[in-house]
Amino acid sequence: MQQTRKKTILKAAVCLVLLAAALIGLRNQQYLLTLLNFVCMYMISVSGLDILFGYSGQISLGHAAFYASGAYTSALLTTKLGVPVWLAIPAACLVSLALGIIVALPASKLIHHFLALLTISVGQLVYILISRASFTNAMTGIRSIPNIPLFGYELKSKYFFLIFMILMVALFLIIKQCIIHSRVGRAFQAIRENPVAAGGIGINVQKYKIMAFAISAVYTGFAGAMYAHFVGFISPETFTSAQSVMFMTMLLFGGMGSFSGPLIGAAIVTFLNETLQVLGSYRMMVYGAFILAVLLFLPHGISGLIDIVKQSLFKNRGKEDRHADA
């Protein structure tokens, strides 16, 4: 026990040093800083999706709805009602939480195919609402969303925003790990593995499904709020089903039900998308083929691949948070 703790601390220190070095090196790389900020948002959002799909076994192809609810709540509160940013962000999380619960009430009774369809429909509904309603400025979108003030100082610089985002990613990941390795997290995994047995052992399946949806919605909603404050402008085109599919692609590519999967997936898919810009109008074709390739050749994502490599290297026994049913 003591030994492993020392190891963990050592590894954490190595990571921190690397991170610090990376940050110093990136100071003036504005484009990369922008991308990394997006990567951080995606990491939070995809981690949320992982709690729902990877750990609780419930698919969502409508997470753009929560991304939108977070972004729009925070943007509307700060621009139209003058609410301070630090109140608007929790409010955005709360609204996303509420939306998550509303979606989950019917969703918790459906099996996967119909769940997929329901979440797609919810995504469509939210998109139609924000692109039509006058209070969201319809297609015009919302401009001049304030930046995040921190210690009386606005996070205008992408560099400081990134540092803030990294802290947020760390916070949300720690929370995710705490949840996963608790009674609640075990209930989630029990439901994913076998809902009948989970009910038989005293787990209120519906309640925990709703809880998973709600937590997931908060993660994605928070990421949405960050998006709004980072870019300063939001409009409905960001919140289409393509966004939901992208979150799912990141999760699949990184690997579900793992700590590192969402992180790897968010980073690689973001950079891949940017690299594919070279292809101009052929870009989306390659992106689609990429999804197929992941499904065909990397069903457990990159983190699954790492696991396999590690297992053959170290003959490590026990796989802690991996499920391998695909």
Partner: protein, 253 residues
């Protein structure tokens, strides 16, 4: 402790359990036997809430439990195992048992996120209790393996361990010996007795007559959903109606 009163369930036109009444007293090992398709597993599903009664009642500790959701019934102190093993197969053996502690622990989401001292104490207690149970079931060396990597007999024992983790007052065992070899069966017999000696009442569905006759205090026999006998093992063995039911239906066909 558990009382079935005219319990009946129909699927379409078929009456799977037909006006069955019996009472299980505290501390008993109560057997349910019958030919294939007699309605034994359906009876279990009724008690554990998977199916809802068409008519009649099921009372547990003087409270009506029929119609409750399965998790409510589990909370009231009934745990079960499954004929076709229902483990959380990709999770580790230890985690399977830990999930069994669900209703015996309290920490919610907030406690988990903030890692409150109470939550950490509880987690430590869960860990200890579960390792204790695994030791009791002889699975302690496999604690970190995924449940699906266990042998058939081990998986059955794990199911019992998981059920035991919820500290039930009544344990429903659905064919625990199925697929076990004879040494495992002997161990199982011992285990069932030990469980009873811990003060847990047991309702047992089993095909293996030798085992049933050895451990049970009282046996009820079902045939085509109807109860045809309720007696001690010795008397049931000599009951002509039971014999003809088994001959007619082909015992263990």
């Amino acid at each position: 402790m558990l009382t079935l009163d005219q319990a009946t369930i129909q699927f379409g036109g078929l009456t799977a359990v037909d006006h069955v009444s019996f009472t299980v007293e505290k501390g008993q090992i109560f057997g349910v036997i019958g030919p294939n398709g007699a309605g034994k597993t359906t009876l279990f599903n009724l008690v554990s809430g998977v199916h809802k009664l068409t008519s009649g009642s099921i009372r547990f500790l003087d409270k009506e439990i029929s119609g409750l959701e399965p998790y409510r019934i589990a909370e009231s102190g009934i745990a079960r195992t499954y004929q076709n093993i229902n483990l959380f197969s990709n999770l580790s053996v230890l985690e399977n048992v830990k999930i069994g502690r669900h209703i015996q622990s309290r920490s919610g989401l907030a406690a988990a996120i903030f890692r409150t001292p109470a939550q950490r104490r509880e987690e430590a207690a869960i860990q200890d209790k579960c390792m204790e149970l695994l030791t009791f079931m002889g699975l302690e060396s496999k604690a970190d393996l995924p449940a699906k990597n266990l042998s058939y007999g081990e998986q059955r024992r794990l199911e019992i361990a998981r059920a035991m983790a919820s500290e039930p007052q009544l344990l429903l065992l659905d064919e625990p010996a199925a697929g076990m070899n004879s040494t495992e069966k002997v161990e199982l017999t011992e285990m069932i007795r030990n469980i009873r000696n811990m003060g847990i009442t047991i309702l047992l569905v089993e095909h293996d007559m030798k085992l049933v006759m050895k451990v049970t205090d009282l046996i009820t026999v079902l045939n085509f959903g109807k109860m045809i006998a309720l007696d001690t093992p010795q008397k049931v063995q000599n009951n002509p109606e039971v014999i003809s039911a088994y001959l007619g239906g082909g015992i263990d066909a």
